[in-house]
Amino acid sequence: MLIEKSVLVILLFLISLGVAAYQTYFERKLAAWIQDRVGPDRAGPFGILQPIADGVKMFLKEDFIPAKADKWLFIIGPGISMFTALITSSVIPWGTNLNLFGRDISLQVADFNIGILFVFGVVSIGVYGIMIGGWASNNKYSLYGAIRASSQMISYELAMGISAITIVMMSGSLSLNDIVKSQHGMNWNIFYQPVAFFIFFITSMAELNRAPFDLPECESELIGGYHTEYSSMKLGLYLFSEYTSMFVSSAIMAILFFGGYNFPGMDAFSGNLLAILSIAAFALKIFLFIFVIMWIRWTIPRFRFDQLMHLGWKVLIPAAIVNMLITGLVIAWNEGWM
């Protein structure tokens, strides 16, 4: 039991980092294609060794800590970001049970009965990584970036939580495992809750600090935002944690709205074949989400800060609340409570 969980944890850790590394490559390629360029193609065939070259470059850079920075907080900041980005993947069910060596192995590190709450809690801690890093740098650009990040996170977390609540109401459970199981086959939540999905998608892009919501690090106004003073692998950790969170939140979106590892016609398979196919289906959904998020980044310009607040408080939160109320009424009607 302990051994198989440990193996799963280490595997997940490596996969998350590997996926994050290759997301940087994919993002650069995609940006290049959208801008009619070729993109990185020198390191290895089609440039697939580029992430390794980038990583080595990051390690070899001088690790600089500003003289007036708060040294310990400056070091802790990127650590918190990376830690929260990685730990979220522990509650994600990656596929149906795998049968190895006569044991039924669950492809979920921890099946909490409050999985989705855990995700929200950890993601909220993630803002501390940015806040602490930005504050400890003792630089006004970093501080501005940190303030923007925290106000943006707080505003968008509300709408995100409310739209996730509608899914919890429908499945009747906070456990991600139960939410996935309730969407068996093609019975996905997106067909019942398109509005909630839309709100969740927009807010998760804001939570990820991705364009068009990348105000905390917008280089045209704030140089680098909260990571202006960072260099070497500390900067690398910030960038890496952003990509890891993108991977994890794509997985969360796939679980909540697109049936997680479920795929149409899954009843025709069983055992390990089903497990492998379900993992593949889940990976495909995650890939599509990552692709769409990147596609949006290279299409839409950045929001202005007042527009961002306007969208969050005056559009998304009311829409999420109305959506939740309607869902509640429909559930009450179906259950015969009215």
């Binding site: 959208i34 801008q35 009619d36 596609w295 949006i296 839409i300």
Partner: protein, 165 residues
Amino acid sequence: MTLWEKIYIPAIVGGMMTTMKHMLRPRKTIKYPEETRVFAPVYRGQHVLKRDEEGRENCTACGLCAVACPAEAITMISAEREKGEEHLYREEKYASSYEINMLRCIFCGLCEEACPKEAVFLTDRIVKTEFERDEFIYGKDKLVETMDDRIDITKRQFTGKRTEQ
């Protein structure tokens, strides 16, 4: 703005369709060291000092190219042909030193036009990059063609004033 414009979604979807169109378009990039672009026939690149059919240098160090050069990139020292050097230089006078500063040259082709002896031509070769400034001053060692590696200048001759007899 109307409500349709206010919700932005149609505009965003339209924008994403545009970027998708670009994503699927074939690339026009020429990956330089592996592929090279086809030059125009009148391309003006690195100069060459021609020899005639018997391998004698055409240049007589008249200095017209240096006078014509708007960037003042050409310097030369003339010398008289000694006895026994008839196989090296076509006429009695020749350039003992002929230098073009490739950093000053603007590749206008006026030297080629001014030359009465068909000695200097611009070719489709690219001037190499160097790390030191001195290396860009090309002397006769780099400019004069060798007999076993003659430079083709027919493309430039047909665009110039005179054609080959």
